[in-house]
Amino acid sequence: MDRIKIEFDAVSRNESFARVCVAAFATRLDPTLDEINDIKTAVSEAVTNAVIHGYNEQGGIIELTAAIEEDELTIVISDKGRGIDDIEKAMEPMFTTGSDKERSGMGFTFMEVFMDELSVESQPGQGTTVTMKKRIGKTEE
């Protein structure tokens, strides 16, 4: 197994850093351009959620690990922010808590569409961990 782990400040300019970092790591699976875009988008959504919702744009630390096992990429993104009260509701398309700041409410939907597996664990007041998996090269089978 191949693995990377990074920690970075929960600020919006690190959203691009995080997705580029995971994309660079994923290149060893020889993904297609579409697969790379899927991964970048999913990472961007999870990190953006941590910045906006986890830490309420007040900053904090985001931990990201990515691992490759055979043809599968696993990405885990965690924050120690305020957590999610109702995960099921948060994952509904178009649901958003940020009423003043036009969010599309599609973050989790993006992660679900672009990755093969998505799971979200959260404790109010403790933080949120998003785990996503994607098999690379399966479209060519």
Binding site: S12, N37, T41, S44, K101, M106
Partner: protein, 113 residues
């Protein structure tokens, strides 16, 4: 991203570039809303020619502008979408609220010369 909006004829052209994520959308949104108010033009054309990446923040930006200008009789146009952008537009239902128009394409693309 520097200033992205230019008003031309009856449309505000928004030249997006690079990655359209949460980090850049807030600034773009403010600039568009200011330009709409100042120029009194309700039609917006988003030029995606130089966009490499868009996540749900970009969708929020477009949906938000749509909700704002639609009641004023405006339209949202999009130009120069690459394959990746077309895919996202299709997957997330943006084709229903945005228009493509060859005349607008011409206005957007001639501006650059």
């Amino acid at each position: 991203m520097g200033r992205v909006c230019t008003a031309k004829r009856n449309v505000i052209i928004v030249r997006l570039c690079g990655d359209l994520d949460h980090h850049v959308t807030e600034q773009i949104r403010n600039e568009i809303d200011e330009t709409v108010a100042n120029e009194k033009i309700n039609n917006i054309a988003f030029d995606f020619k130089n966009v490499n990446f868009m996540d749900s923040s970009g969708i929020g930006l477009i949906m938000g502008r749509y909700k704002k200008i639609k009641p004023m009789g405006g339209e949202i146009f999009v130009c120069n979408l690459n394959c990746q952008m077309q895919r996202i537009f299709g997957l997330f239902g943006l084709n229903g609220i945005t228009k493509r128009n060859s005349k607008i394409d011409m206005i957007v693309n001639e501006e650059e010369r």
